[in-house]
């Protein structure tokens, strides 16, 4: 039995006006184990706190109950008070007699009676409290950024800038991501490469940053401050340390018929390739699916022409293990596949393209050298129709339910650029709504309409039929209440964007939660937008939701700031109110693991003593206190009651129930 001290606060008149505080203190003094009971005007004041501290010493208190305002208000204050007096801070319980008593009742007798009961419940609980100490866990001062697009690069640069080591894992042979494929950026129309490539070079040259290109994360173990990650470096059949990026091999390779993924298949490349001139690292990669040497053992041209001797056909996937304190997810997005929307004839005509393909057709480094030509016949298009919201804002069965956010702006950009470069083209944009909430965004859209004469039509395209080299577009003009029939030369579809396919398995490895659309969920939609609910996992860029470049960069830096804050600590203080299994009762059934939102529970096979000097091997749960946040889901999922929650144990809660119902 604890030696309990009860301190009833008046809170000026806030409590004392409706609760007879003296009577409460008097009645509670008779509760079992209570050795001291008093009341005071302001418990949280300096004098009040000193009174508590003196009483702890004088009466040798082992438990303290404070009847005052909500624990959400001053629980921490009083815990610190008691800690200074040498009492474990978790031996303090608060009875909320202000918000949940004096403020809601008018009748003094009723309120006093209730305050006594609330006090009793707190006393009953404190009798079962046990001293708890917060554990600490060391922080590995290194961060991992998964994904090397603009989000990942920005995050890595900011973290490195603060003096911490960062690794970037990028699945493609070069970092840069989607932004490398974009021609111009809205709303300023500066060239994407001009602003991105210097950042890529910065990242490559920064000695705090290590880039694992053509690599993937294959396993993640551990927890915040102590992640153990295995990175798979895929075989590129070229020794990165030797390759100079001269590009001779990419000119001599006889296998010329490989669809160029960088240009979205609009032209071909060789089997050995460097995705584009400014690639980082500028190292060649052999596409094993097309390389004759790797497939049949005959060829070897690249090896012969390589003066650096960098080609290595025997290279294998390599696995690297590394430890990190924090992980940033920056896996980005992809446009969706358009198979489901055949009314737009995407698969029937090469002149129906996605917006990203259109970027390549407009790009000076693209397949047409920057001249806008129809993919089918290489002619200049004279009528171009843009269709917005293709696959966005749909019912679940028809596509993505969300707005892809960036399409309105890039379509305005495309339309504007067409009219600027080729004033003789007619440009139609079919929209449902034009969404331009961003700095200088609406002005940009209005310029497309007013200065560049883009025809914005409120309505949707119903079907596109390729006929005699033209694309017959049938669409609605809802404001004009007419149906339009346009003979177009090109149709550009603003395809919805979706999270990269690698995100889902990654989320499983990280035990980070995702929404139904496979976007990572943030810890709080407003207040913690760049953190995953899983401690130590941070979110950067479009993996969390559709975003344009300015927003992505802002979030990338925000995530970096959070990572720096974490890595700056030498130790993390853990929440001491964690779950704890009783191994003797644990069935090892995995129920607790299934409901744990943080992946804090693992299992080990452990030997136990059985009857008659035998030993029994049993599977038992273990909780990692550094990861457990103390929600208690496991305690209820556990069929045998082996799992309990420190600070909110079964017995403590039942004692409160008993005291209240008494």
């Amino acid at each position: 039995m604890q030696r309990v001290g009860v301190f009833v606060c008046w809170c000026g008149s806030n409590i004392a006006a409706t609760v007879d505080v003296e009577k409460v203190a008097e009645v509670l003094a008779k509760e079992p184990g209570v050795v001291f009971s008093t009341n005071y005007q302001y418990m949280c004041s300096q004098a009040g706190q000193e009174m508590i501290q003196e009483s702890i010493a004088k009466y040798n208190l082992t438990g303290v109950v404070i009847c005052s305002c909500s624990p959400r208000m001053h629980e921490n204050t009083f815990r610190k008070t008691c800690e200074k007096a040498g009492l474990n801070p978790y031996m303090v319980e608060i009875a909320n007699i202000r918000e949940q008593c004096s403020w809601i009742h008018k009748d003094k007798e009723t309120a006093t009676e209730k305050a006594v009961i609330l006090g009793r419940a707190a006393i009953a609980k404190v009798h079962l409290n046990a001293p708890l100490t917060s554990g600490t866990s060391p922080v590995k001062k290194r961060a991992l950024v998964i994904g090397g697009g603009i989000a990942g690069i920005q995050t890595a640069l900011d973290i490195a800038d603060a003096g911490f080591d960062v690794d970037i894992v990028e699945k493609e042979p070069t970092i840069g991501g989607k932004m490398t494929q974009i021609d111009k950026t809205f709303p300023t129309l500066d060239c994407a490469a001009c602003i991105l490539t210097p950042k890529m070079v910065d990242a490559a040259q920064n000695e705090k940053i290590h880039i694992y290109s053509y690599s993937e994360v294959s396993s993640v173990k551990g927890f915040v401050g102590n992640f153990k990650v295995t990175i798979k470096k895929k075989a590129r059949y070229v020794d990165e340390t030797k390759c100079t990026g001269c590009g001779l091999c990419t000119e001599k390779c006889p296998q010329k018929k490989v669809p160029n993924a960088f240009n979205l298949g609009l032209d071909n490349r060789r089997a050995i390739y460097i995705p584009f001139a400014q690639a980082v690292p500028k190292v060649a990669t052999i596409d094993a699916d097309y390389c004759t040497m790797l497939k049949s053992g005959k060829c070897g041209v690249c090896s012969k022409v390589c003066t650096a001797g960098a080609i290595d056909y025997t290279q294998k996937d390599a696995f690297i293990e590394q430890e990190y304190g924090a992980i940033v997810v920056a896996t980005g997005f992809n446009p969706i596949k358009l198979d489901q929307y055949d009314e737009f004839a995407y698969s029937q005509s090469p002149d129906v393209v996605t917006s990203l393909e259109f970027e390549r057709l407009m790009n000076a480094a693209g397949p047409t050298g920057g001249t806008l030509l129809r993919p089918s016949d290489g002619q200049h298009p004279h009528t171009i129709v843009f269709v917005q919201c293709v696959g966005s804002r749909c019912d679940d069965s028809k596509g993505k339910p969300y707005c892809s956010k960036i399409c309105c702006m890039y379509t305005a950009k495309h339309a504007m650029l067409c009219r600027e470069k080729y004033p003789d083209t007619d440009v139609y944009v079919f929209y449902i709504d034009v969404r331009t909430p961003g700095k200088n965004f609406d002005e940009f859209y209005r310029r497309a309409v007013e200065e560049y004469g883009v025809h914005y039509v409120k309505g949707m395209v119903g079907k596109v039929v390729p006929e005699n080299g033209k694309l017959k577009v049938q669409a609605s003009d809802l404001i004009g209440n007419q149906q339009l029939h346009i003979d177009a030369d090109m149709v550009v579809l603003a395809a919805a964007i979706e999270p990269d396919k690698s995100a889902r398995p990654l989320a499983t490895m990280l035990t980070a939660s995702m929404d139904t659309n496979d976007f990572f969920t943030e810890a709080h939609p407003k207040l913690r937008p760049v953190e995953s609910p899983t401690a130590g996992i941070f979110l950067s860029g479009a993996c969390q939701g559709p975003k344009d470049i300015p927003e992505t960069v802002a979030q990338a830096s925000a995530a970096a700031a959070k990572v720096i804050g974490l890595l700056n600590k030498d130790h993390l203080v853990c929440n001491p109110c964690t779950a704890q299994p009783d191994e003797l009762m644990c069935n090892g059934c995995s129920s607790c693991e299934k409901v744990c939102p943080y992946g804090a529970i693992t299992y080990v096979d452990k030997e136990f003593r059985g009857p008659n000097r035998t030993t029994l091997l049993r599977r038992v749960a273990q909780v990692n206190p550094a990861v457990c946040q103390g929600c208690g889901a496991c305690t209820v999922a556990c069929p045998s009651g082996a799992m309990d929650l420190k600070g909110f144990s079964n017995k403590q809660i039942m004692a409160e129930v008993d005291a209240i119902c008494r």
Binding site: C389, R393, D395, G462, K463, S476
Partner: protein, 123 residues
């Protein structure tokens, strides 16, 4: 009436985001006074009698292009069909109410006729 159309069609017009893809897909556009997206909108806003009296409701081919293309599964063709049904059901709208009956009674009139007429005209 709105509820009747909603019940017959099983369509929730509030799901419509007014994109007009239904109207863009409609092969009978020229013949219809009101177009698929207007049907959805007007049902939502209770302008059903206008729809019932409009020209060309029978020109909808029920080709279901609008249903197929609608990004939000609103199914405009079912709304149009429901309006047609509403037109059919209101035909012969001469209603018979119980207080009109005494005036119509005469000795020759068989009881059965009253019941039959009541059955027929009460809807």
């Amino acid at each position: 009436m709105i509820d009747t159309i909603k019940r017959i069609s099983g369509v929730n017009p509030r799901k419509c985001m007014k994109c007009g893809k239904c109207t863009a897909s409609c092969p009978a556009f020229e013949r219809m006074q009101f177009h698929p997206h207007q049907f959805v909108d007007m049902v939502e806003n209770g302008r059903i009698h206008e729809l019932m009296n409009s020209e060309g409701i029978d020109f909808c081919l029920s080709c279901f292009a609008c249903v197929e293309r609608c990004p939000r599964n609103v199914e405009p063709a079912k709304v149009i069909e429901a309006v047609r049904l509403a037109v059919v059901r209101q035909q012969g709208g001469a209603h018979l109410t119980p207080d009109e009956i005494p005036a119509l009674l005469d000795d020759e009139l068989p009881q059965q006729a009253i019941t039959a007429a009541f059955r027929k005209y009460r809807k």
